[in-house]
């Protein structure tokens, strides 16, 4: 319907419709047909194939009004008209085209006829040319054959001439030593001669040639054997010999054995040097001075090979390695290079290049290099082992570096060889060995410095002994001030030594050292070797040896001076607080240690050091306490307390005890901090012993007391004990002066108490003890953390003495005070 409604004058749509209708007519179904078909099923579609005029008309009639029908009709008429005109135009166009096509075909017919004639003419001409050509070749054929024959004869003659001249030429070459020419000439002739050897004349030539070549080969071999010739000559030689069918294997062997003899000479030179240095090491300088001839041990071979060696015996390791590198390794490289040039990398030419030569040669070379290198390595290792002194590590490192570097050349030359890895192993071993040496050096250094300290301590100690015997307590102060100095110098010494060792070891990992980037030196060397093997081991060693001082010294005072114990204790404590972490941080930083494997943590080391410090300090307290208590014990045990005279003085022993305690106080004060103590009473030295202070208690000791009295005497001290804490006599001390002194005084006074308890006293004996205790009271309270401790122990002593007294009549407190102040 839409088509019906479209205005007929819209030209493009109209034309398309025409086209499509034409297509329809010719049965051409194109795109868009589906849509059309959908439309065209409608019987009312005027353009559809199923158009039914009846239906259409009926529909129109049904649907439209009259007016519309009128319009429709006129429209339809208009469309029909335009369709008619379209048809006419089309028919006309087609007719025109048909006519022009007919014209063209007629014209073509005429042209083809002309061309046919020309082709016929051409074929006739070609036939004529063929005929002529055949005639010419027929005439020339004879001459050509003759010329060919002549030229063949000519070449043959030239060859023959060459053959006949060959012996002479070879001789000449031989004279001129132009071996290459000779060989190439002979090679050219050889096959021919071989082929025609049945003819006598050729046989003669062949024989002559053989003789000459034999001679030539002989000369070549001679030259090869001489070895004096340059590498280039040698290679030429080998090449020629190979061309002369000399067996390659034999040549390889010869070449290698020849090289070996030269390399062995180098090795022997090195060995001789090694022996010499070993000899001079053991023999000392005087032997070195004697002339080599008179020296019975000096090996003759070495002096023959290296006459210049013996006077400069005892070369350092760098020189040795240098020599090894320059002589042995470089010539080995040369040998390898030229050998490879000759046998392996040769351009393979002709029948000589049998496949297995390079392979065979390579195998031989490897064996050769390996054996020689093994010998060389063993020499180097021996030399390294001789390097015991730890003074200058840089020399060793440089030597090892050079050694390693030079071996890299072999890697390049001989990629599959195990030699460089062996070399690296040697370096690694040397490094390990070095670390061990450093550790032991550090240990001996530590021991030495301890011995020095010990001597430094012993020297003034003698002076003190002499001086104090004559009654002077002043010198003891002169003896001790060096303690902190000794400590700082000792710890500085050790630290510096450790640092210098670290610096030395650090050389192994320097960037410019070739082997420093090997995995061993990056990882294991740093963490396991340096950190664990050197630093940690050393710290552990310090703790260990410190602990040994506590154990081996024995309990009888031992051989270790107490001051040393104190000093070591402080040293260990310092290590615990700072030095260990400092050292380890330093190490970690210097060596960039990456911990692949578990390493000892700082805390564990610190704990160990602290434990050692504690042990040492405890031992110090024990030793010092023992010295004082020994003095007290002797003084109590050797005296007849029943028949003693009335006390006029404080006994000298007590003065000595106070003196010693004071000097210990000074000594400890030099190294340890003061520490905390309980508040003192206003005048501690003036305190009196409660048991005796009141007159009431004095009565109790009068001869006439009642039988119930003993219960009372116990009561007071028992009540005291109930309220005071139990005293551990030998107990661990803290790291401060007061605690140390408290420990020492505790031990001493407890000994005093126990000794008093097994003696029996007379009246004056008790009074003497009273005086002594008061004196101790006056001077000892200031040293301890809790003065009540001293009071308590002294009370116990006096109380026990009173119990053990046959005639307990105590001295007046005022008298005691007077005596003590006078003393």
């Amino acid at each position: 319907m839409s088509s019906a409604t479209t205005p007929p004058d819209s030209d493009p749509t109209g034309r398309r419709r025409v086209h499509s209708m034409l297509k329809l007519y010719y049965g051409l179904n194109e795109e868009g047909t589906a849509a059309e078909q959908a439309e065209s099923l409608d019987p009312c579609d005027i353009n559809g194939p199923h158009f039914d005029p009846e239906v259409y008309l009926n529909k129109l009639r049904k649907d439209c009004s009259l007016c519309e029908l009128m319009d429709h009709e006129s429209c339809m008429v208009k469309q029909i008209r335009s369709l008619d005109s379209d048809m006419q135009t089309l028919v006309y166009e087609n007719y025109n085209k048909f006519i022009s096509a007919t014209d063209t075909i007629r014209k073509m017919k005429n042209d083809f006829k002309k061309m046919e004639d020309e082709m016929d003419c051409l074929s006739a001409n070609m036939a004529a040319i063929t005929e002529f050509s055949a005639r010419i070749s027929g005439t020339l054929q004879d001459q050509h054959a003759q010329i060919t024959k002549l030229s063949g004869v000519h070449t043959l003659l030239r060859k023959l001439q060459f053959l006949f001249e060959l012996p002479a030429r070879l001789n000449k070459c031989l004279e001129l030593q132009a071996y290459a020419q000779a060989v190439s000439a002979h090679r050219r002739a050889r096959c021919v001669l071989q082929q025609y050897s049945h003819m006598p004349s050729f046989r003669g030539i062949q024989d002559d040639c053989h003789v000459i070549m034999e001679q030539l080969a002989q000369q070549l071999r001679q030259k090869f054997r001489d070895g004096g010739s340059s590498a280039k000559d040698l290679s030429e030689c080998v090449e020629l010999l190979l061309q002369l069918d000399e067996p390659a294997e034999e040549l390889c062997d010869k070449f290698l054995s020849h090289a070996q003899s030269r390399l062995e000479a180098d090795l022997q030179g090195l060995e001789a040097e090694l022996k010499d240095s070993a000899f001079t090491d053991t023999g000392g300088g005087s032997v070195q001075k004697t002339s080599p001839g008179s020296n019975p041990i000096s090996p003759s071979s070495s002096s023959v090979i290296n006459p210049f060696l013996s006077p400069t015996a005892g070369t350092d390791i760098l020189e040795f390695i240098d020599r090894g590198c320059n002589e042995f390794v470089s010539s080995l490289c040369l040998v390898i290079a030229s050998y490879q040039e000759l046998f392996i990398n040769r351009p393979q030419e002709g029948e000589l290049a049998s496949k297995n030569i390079p392979e065979m040669a390579n195998g031989k070379l490897h064996v050769f290099v390996d054996t020689l290198a093994a010998r060389y390595f063993s020499l180097v290792e021996r030399r390294i082992q001789e390097e015991k002194g730890v003074g200058d590590n840089s020399l060793l490192v440089r030597a090892l570096d050079r050694f390693h570097r030079r071996l890299q050349a072999i890697t390049k030359l001989l990629p599959g060889s195990a030699v460089p890895s062996h070399g690296t192993e040697i370096v690694v071993r040397a490094a390990r060995e070095r670390i061990k040496q450093y550790l032991s050096a550090l240990q001996t250094f530590y021991h030495d410095s301890l011995t020095d300290v010990r001597q430094a301590l012993a020297a003034p100690r003698l002076a003190v002994g002499g001086a104090s015997a004559s009654g002077g307590g002043v010198t003891s102060k002169d003896a001790t001030p060096s303690l902190p100095e000794l400590l700082t110098s000792l710890s500085n010494f050790i630290l510096n030594q450790l640092k210098s060792v670290l610096a030395s070891v650090h050389l192994f990992t320097a960037k410019d050292i070739t082997f420093s980037n090997k995995p061993y030196f990056k990882g294991e060397f740093c963490s396991q070797g340096v950190r664990e093997g050197l630093v940690v081991s050393f710290i552990k060693f310090i703790c260990q040896s410190s602990r040994q001082y506590c154990e081996s010294a024995g309990d009888r005072g031992g051989s270790t001076p107490p001051a040393l114990l104190l000093l070591l204790s402080r040293l260990c404590l310092d290590y615990e607080t700072s030095t260990i972490s400092y050292i380890l941080t330093l190490t970690d930083e210097q060596f960039l240690v990456q911990h692949h494997t578990p390493v000892t943590p700082v805390t564990a080391l610190c704990a160990e050091a602290r434990e050692a410090a504690q042990k040492l300090l405890n031992h110090y307290v024990k030793v010092q306490g023992l010295i004082i208590s020994q003095m007290l014990r002797k003084s109590v045990e050797t005296r007849d307390w029943v028949n003693t005279i009335e006390p006029r003085n404080v006994r000298a022993v007590m003065k000595r005890v106070v003196e010693d305690t004071t000097s210990i106080d000074v000594q400890v004060g030099l190294l340890y901090e003061e520490g905390v103590r309980k508040a003192h009473s206003s005048d501690s030295s003036k305190r009196t012993f409660s048991v005796y202070s009141s007159s009431r208690q004095q009565i109790r000791y009068a001869p006439s007391y009642t039988p119930s009295a003993p219960m009372d005497t116990n009561l007071l001290s028992n009540i005291h004990k109930l309220f005071s804490e139990r005293i551990d006599i030998f107990s661990p001390v803290e790291f401060n002066k007061v605690s140390v002194l408290t420990g020492i005084i505790k031990i001493s006074l407890k000994t005093f108490l126990e000794c008093v308890r097994i003696r029996t006293f007379g009246r004056y004996g008790l009074q003497q003890i009273q005086v002594d205790c008061h004196y101790l009271q006056m001077y000892l309270w200031r040293f301890v953390s809790d003065e009540n401790l001293v009071h308590f122990l002294l009370d116990e002593i006096v109380g026990s003495a009173a119990h053990r007294c046959l005639d307990p009549s105590p001295m007046e407190q005022s008298v005691i005070e007077v005596i003590c102040e006078r003393g």
Binding site: G554, V642, P710, N714, N718, L722, F730, R757, T760
Partner: protein
């Protein structure tokens, strides 16, 4: 199962001497000697009633002087020796004597316990071990398991072997030995070995321990510097003939095999002051008692060096048959050398400890202030050792 609380008994006087009544095997009985310069000294006989946890005491007067050492005869429970100091002409000398307890002390004390202190009976002197030529006596030792006829006294630097005759009323020196050396040598302690037919003696002087053969009266071994300081006491392992324990002023207890005297077999360092006394349990020698002037008594279990090493070898075959008992045994396994208990009932130095002769699980300790404490081995351990 709780252990019984310790039983404490207080003496009026200070005391150092304690012994178990060796010949008495039925009653648990300890004898304590007091030290007092002003009053008459006493011997307290303390009976412990295990079932009622009660103490019965009887007091005998010992008016000769203060008692330093006491030891009971192994044969006759009424006979004992004391070392006591006697002051004469302002000179103190320690003497030794053999005493007999009056036969009626037992009944008498029971009749009137309240009066016992008022009217105590006196010890009957049997004989003096006369020592005027030899100096102060440090201790008197009875022949172990003997018939009560032989005693040894250690006086200064002499070892004196006495024969007691006529029912102990007469003592004669049968042989003697003298320790020679530089300085003033003095025995501090000694012990008569129960092994080797009672022919060996061990003594201590200063830091050395010496062994003596009583047949020849000659020294057989000497452990120089056995302790860092003075050796205070010794005891023989009752079951292992070459083993002895010693203690001293270095706060240590050491165990020795006298065949290898260079090194102690073991060393304990648990006390914080001098160790004055060391005693092996008579039946179970892994139990060791030590008393120290740090006022502590320590009971240790030294399994590793005892005659009853852990794991009864005999049982091995049976164990393979019975898995349950094996597991049980494994449960008991961790019986190691260890301190069993530290007793802190004392407040003064403990100078003597002693196992009861009658009950192997009971012991007494005596401190200077006169406090006697009776303790038991913890029950758990006791059953462990027994079962």
């Amino acid at each position: 199962m709780e252990d019984d609380a310790p039983v404490i008994y207080g003496l009026e006087f200070q005391a150092r001497a304690l012994t178990a009544q060796t010949a008495e095997t039925d009653a648990i009985r300890f004898v304590v000697g007091t030290q007092s310069l002003k009053f008459d000294n006493q011997i307290h006989i303390i009976d412990f009633d295990d079932e009622n946890n009660m103490i019965n005491k009887s007091v005998l007067l010992h008016d000769a002087g203060e008692i330093w050492h006491i030891s009971g005869s192994p044969a006759d429970k009424a006979v004992l020796t004391t070392c006591y100091s006697k002051t004469s002409e302002s000179r103190v000398l320690t003497c030794a004597a053999v005493w007999r307890m009056p036969p009626e002390w037992e009944s008498g004390s029971h009749e009137s316990p309240d009066d016992s202190s008022n009217n105590p009976q006196t010890l009957e002197l049997l004989c003096h071990l006369d020592n005027t030529t030899h100096g102060s006596v440090a201790c008197v030792l009875w022949e172990p398991m003997g018939d009560g006829k032989r005693v040894i006294s250690l006086a200064e630097n002499h070892v004196l072997l006495w024969d007691l005759q006529e029912s102990s009323t007469k003592a004669t020196i049968s042989s003697s030995a003298t320790l020679e050396g530089k300085g003033q040598l003095k025995f501090t302690a000694g012990k008569w070995s129960p092994h080797h037919n009672s022919t060996q003696l061990a003594t201590a002087n200063d830091t050395a321990i010496r062994g003596w053969d009583l047949r020849s009266m000659s020294q057989i071994y000497c452990i120089e510097s056995a302790h860092g300081q003075l050796v205070r006491d010794l005891d023989f392992n009752p079951n292992k003939q070459y083993y002895l324990a010693s203690c001293g002023d270095d706060c240590k207890v050491k165990f020795w095999d006298v065949r290898h005297i260079n090194e102690p077999v073991k060393c304990l360092e648990e006390h914080s002051h001098w160790v004055w006394s060391v005693r092996y349990n008579h039946s179970h020698d892994q139990l060791l008692l030590t008393g120290s002037s740090d006022s502590r008594v320590i009971l240790s279990n030294m399994v590793s060096i005892s005659s009853e090493p852990f794991g009864h070898l005999v049982d091995d075959d049976e164990l393979s048959d019975n898995e349950e008992s094996q597991q049980e045994d494994k449960g008991k396994e961790p019986l190691r050398d260890s301190i069993i208990a530290t007793y802190e009932e004392h407040e003064d130095s403990v100078y003597a400890v002693e196992w009861s002769a009658a009950d192997p699980w009971l012991f007494a300790s005596l401190s200077y202030d006169g406090r006697l404490v009776i303790n038991r081995v913890p029950r758990a351990l006791k059953y462990r050792i027994l079962l």
